[in-house]
């Protein structure tokens, strides 16, 4: 039942290409999408536009290019439809409707999402699942959207028909229409049919609830404890002895040899919610109320997400970054993280500043006397691509600015500005830069 997103990816690329052509014509992205929807119609419009804008020879070239692109687009969409006919629906009418709705949905989303996807990182599209929980949700959602889509079309048509057919006309004269007070049979019908639909929806829903929520934890699973803090994530790997922050590393899971990751979700302060849309639905992190969730990503890469439950001033910049690594990469990452902090004699001055100031009250650097727990563990800070829970890239300048004045990057962050002198500041930054 899984509609393979491969064609969607192709589709997205295609849209990008078309968009480039469009931008050479100085037209907006919205129109590009519109043109793929009504491909044939759009072709005419493209020809029309190209005819108005470019010089004759350029015009011709653009027209040819766009024509091939759009025709390719049409065949892509057709392929997509074929792939989707794998939908396990018995009734042909249902299937066609489901396909149509799906088609519109996927193409719209692929269009919008293609704005987002870089080469290696994934977007946050719930219809581009890469892990079992997210996939079973996407499958259920297709089914639910199909059913509600049918209801929508039927009722919408009924209302529209009534409005047009029974509108008051000038030729009516002043007579009142026949006064009808009700009909038991009809009313019974529109009570029973919805009840049947509800039963079907409920059974489909309950099946997925059970499958996702009550999945047993296999022996080879990776265990991670995720702790929500005002406004950052702490990740602990109890079996591996690793503590890190904000960037979660998990192994890719081969369907033949599943290595899912099971997260225990805790909170150190207010409520948070762990949401990486392409890997799983969200689950809240609530103090005094441990939760559990799991995922088994089947593709490597970086998956994005963020805190979804309002947790305070900087809720918006509590971003999530999940790196799904191949088995070797993950093992290498684990080995690196298990080491204590690098001791670099060149950075001793910075380390002194760090340990003399309040830095060490909140941050931990393994192997040193810094053992605070209120802020992120910094033992392997330089192995992370971002700082401040994804609010800024981990570069020299950002690091310096962050230590100098956290509120410049993240106003409302709980890290205080330490008001270090410039030499001290530079020393601490160089110390940080040795922690890889």
């Amino acid at each position: 039942m899984t509609p393979a997103p491969a064609w969607v990816v192709r589709h997205g690329k295609l849209i990008n290409e078309i968009r480039e052509c469009w931008s050479s014509l100085q037209l907006g992205a919205v129109k590009t999408r519109a043109c793929l929807f009504g491909s044939r119609l759009a072709l005419h419009s493209i020809e029309f536009r190209a005819g108005r804008i470019a010089a004759p020879d350029l015009q011709q070239r653009i027209k040819e290019r766009l024509r091939t692109l759009v025709m390719a687009g049409v065949s892509e969409v057709k392929n997509g439809r074929r792939e989707m006919s794998m939908l396990r629906m018995k009734s042909p009418t249902m299937r066609i409707l489901a396909q149509t709705i799906l088609l519109l949905f996927w193409s719209a989303l692929a269009g919008w999402a293609s704005e987002a996807n870089g080469p290696s990182s994934h977007g946050t599209n719930i219809f581009a699942p890469e892990s079992t929980p997210a996939k079973s949700i996407a499958d259920l959602s297709v089914f639910v959207l199909a059913i509600t889509g049918i209801i929508f079309v039927v009722v919408f048509t009924l209302i529209l028909y009534a409005l047009v057919k029974f509108r008051a006309r000038a030729t009516d004269g002043g007579r009142e229409p026949a006064q009808v007070y009700g009909s038991t049979q009809i009313e019974l019908a529109w009570t029973i049919i919805p009840i049947l639909i509800v039963v079907v929806l409920f059974l489909a829903t309950a099946r997925v609830i059970h499958a996702v929520q009550d999945a047993p934890e296999p022996a080879g699973a990776v265990q991670v404890t995720a702790i929500g803090h005002q406004y950052w994530w702490e990740f602990r790997y109890p079996r591996l002895g690793i503590v890190t922050a904000n960037e979660l590393h998990i192994p890719v899971s081969d369907p033949g040899h599943p290595t899912p990751t099971f997260l225990q979700l805790l909170s150190a302060d207010t409520d948070h919610s762990f949401w990486v849309p392409e890997l799983a639905g969200k689950t809240d992190l609530i103090p005094n109320h441990p939760n559990r969730m799991w995922m088994d990503p089947q593709r490597t890469g970086i998956f994005l997400g963020q805190c979804a439950q309002y947790c305070g001033v900087q809720h918006a910049k509590m971003l999530l970054h999940v790196s799904v690594d191949g088995p070797e990469d993950f093992a290498a990452w684990v080995r690196a993280q298990q080491k204590p902090a690098v001791e670099d004699a060149g950075a001793i001055a910075g380390r002194r500043v760090f340990e003399r100031n309040a830095c060490m009250n909140c941050h931990r650097v393994d192997g040193t006397s810094a053992d605070g727990h209120f802020g992120p563990d910094l033992t392997h800070l330089m192995s992370r691509a971002t700082i401040a829970a994804g609010a800024a890239e981990n570069t020299h300048d950002n690091l310096r600015l962050w230590i100098q004045d956290p509120s410049a990057i993240k106003p409302g962050s709980l890290m205080p500005a330490m008001k270090l002198s410039d030499p001290d500041l530079d020393a601490v930054v160089s110390y940080m830069e040795t922690l890889n």
Binding site: E115, V155, F166, P177, V198, D269, G281, I286, V313, A316
Partner: protein, 557 residues
């Protein structure tokens, strides 16, 4: 009938100075004046809440925008939500209930006129308290200002550790105070409907508006009570060393969620049932037919009322309830769809075979039908728990409940304004301005809230003051913001219409719509005593009987 008025000796009618007039309004216990006061305060707060919405929308117009600080943004969405629910939607609906119920059931006032006045002023005081926080409060980060804990103030964010100062206390107190006002009004509505009906008006002959408000009153009693209890518990936590919701001392954050949503979900139906009531009065008149399936409409409303008290935890599918609890709340939530569906079908049945007149009140009701259909279906979508694990707390939810509250309830309220304004003021609202209002608002609404579903599907959480570029959210948010401004313009047209028509509108006469319920039998605006002679009714449509003496309804009921 009651159309004859009591004659007042000429000497008693004289122009009063405005202070005297103001005094009359402030001390009134007349249900009509209180109704208008409710609506007036609601419109005032609607404009304030609308400005807050625009600030939110400007900030989200593109990624990494710096129009307001995160602190201000958090206050804005907290105040916007609280204002719109407690100080716009509820008061305006209470206002209509107050104004219309006695007129529709042939009574001279509500059952408890002074309780009525007391309840209104409590609600209004609640609103003032909330806004006083801008002067007297201080929030999450300590500096003085409005509450910023979100409109549901999840524990432990509302605890003193995370919300020092007094801003969230203003939120607590204002909800507590206005909650008492709501309870007073609910008691009054129930007592009025049950005890004050004119001779002949059996429960089975009552206009649907009265029936639906009766159910609404019952639900207010059920829903507001736990909210008030929770607010008191929160105050105990904050000031008397209690630990109900104090997670650092073993309290439960989840307990607060349950308390809040066992209020919060019935609240949605408290708002939407009076909206259903407007449709059930307006659609028949402009289709020129009686409501289709009156008994089923009543039964469906009661069913919605009952079932809606057992669906609250569908707001909490992401908090880690076990699979049985999740399944239970999924089925109850889906079940609400059945009686709601019946209502939509019965309205279609009412229009079917009628002669539909597309006057402005009807236009708004038609808008309601289409939009509430979509809102209901996205609601069903979210009752599918696993799907909701993705959609919950995202912009999809924000789009969904604005579809219910704006696309549904607010459209019905606008319809009600256009329909009953002539009765209240004696003047017709301008049809031309009304159509401008309708079409502008419709376009703005769809630009904003249709598009808003998509960023939710693309992973955009709600309540974020800014977002990262490159996630495909920028264009969408820009369109949403444009739509918000179009809606704001439409609201200005509406307010202009209210004011201009008050002075220059066409005279309405007693019965401008050729309608069938009792309020149209008396002058516009009605005299203080409503009915000179208390009417006697023989059917659900007393004025139909009067206008068609040879073919009265009473023969068929």
């Amino acid at each position: 009938m009651a159309s004859d008025a009591i004659t007042v000796p000429v000497g008693q009618i004289e122009a009063r100075p405005w202070v005297d007039e103001l005094h009359q309004w402030l001390t009134t216990v007349d249900h009509k004046r209180l109704g208008i006061l409710y609506m007036f305060s609601a419109l005032l707060f609607l404009v304030i809440g609308g400005v807050e919405a625009l600030i939110i929308r400007i900030q989200l117009m593109h990624s990494h925008n710096n129009f307001v600080s995160p602190e201000v943004f958090n206050r804005m969405f907290t105040m916007h939500g609280t204002t719109m629910i407690f100080f716009v939607a509820m008061p305006v609906l209470f206002g209509f209930a107050n104004y219309l119920i006695p007129l529709m059931i042939g009574a001279r006032d509500m059952a408890f006129p002074r309780l009525n006045a007391f309840s209104f002023w409590l609600s209004f005081l609640g609103g003032l308290l909330l806004y006083f926080s801008f002067l007297g409060g201080s929030g999450l980060y300590g500096a003085g200002n409005a509450p910023d804990v979100g409109w549901w103030a999840y524990a432990p964010l509302g605890a003193r550790a995370f919300s020092p100062g007094h801003s969230s206390d203003y939120w607590t107190l204002s909800l507590l105070v206005s909650g008492f006002g709501s309870i007073g009004t609910a008691i009054n509505i129930i007592a009025t409907v049950l005890c004050m009906r004119c001779p002949g008006m059996k429960l089975s002959r009552m206009p649907l508006l009265a029936w639906l408000n009766l159910v609404m009153g019952g639900m207010v009693l059920i829903a507001i009570t736990p909210l008030s209890a929770a607010q008191i518990m929160l105050l105990i936590d904050r000031y008397l060393g209690g630990h109900f919701f104090d997670t650092q001392a073993g309290g439960s954050a989840v307990l607060w969620m349950h308390f809040f949503w066992i209020f919060g979900h019935p609240e949605v139906y408290i708002l939407v049932i009076p909206a259903f009531a407007f449709l059930s009065e307006i659609i028949p008149v402009f289709s020129r037919k009686p409501i289709f399936g009156y008994p089923v409409m009543v039964a469906a409303t009661v069913a919605i009322g009952l079932v809606s008290t057992s669906v609250w935890a569908h707001h909490m599918f992401t908090i880690g309830m076990n699979s049985y609890a999740n399944s239970f709340f999924a089925i109850t939530t889906m079940a609400v769809g059945v009686p709601t569906g019946i209502k939509i079908f019965n309205w279609i049945g009412t229009m079917w075979g009628g002669k539909i007149q597309f006057k402005v009140p009807m236009l708004f009701c038609i808008g309601f039908l289409f939009q509430f259909l979509i809102a209901g279906l996205t609601g069903i979508i979210q009752s599918c728990v696993p799907f909701d694990w993705q959609l919950s707390l995202s912009y999809f939810v924000v789009a969904h409940f604005h579809y219910v509250i704006v696309g549904g309830i607010l459209f019905a309220i606008f319809g009600a304004f256009y329909y009953w304004y002539p009765k209240m003021s004696g003047r017709m609202l301008s049809e031309r301005l009304g159509k401008w209002h309708f079409w502008l608002f419709l376009i703005g609404f769809h630009l904003t809230f249709d598009v808003m579903h998509i960023p939710g599907l693309l992973g955009m959480p709600r309540r974020i003051y800014t977002y990262e570029p490159g996630r495909g959210w920028d264009t969408l948010n820009f369109i949403i913001t444009i739509g918000a401004f179009i809606q704001a313009i439409a609201i200005l047209v509406f307010v202009a219409n209210l004011i201009i028509s008050y002075f220059k509108g066409a005279r309405a006469g007693n019965d401008p719509w050729d309608a069938w319920t009792l309020e149209w039998s008396i002058s516009s605006p009605p005299p203080a005593y409503n009915f000179a002679t208390v009417p006697t009714v023989a059917s659900r449509r007393p004025l139909w009987d009067l206008k068609h003496p040879k073919d009265p309804d009473s023969r068929y009921e």
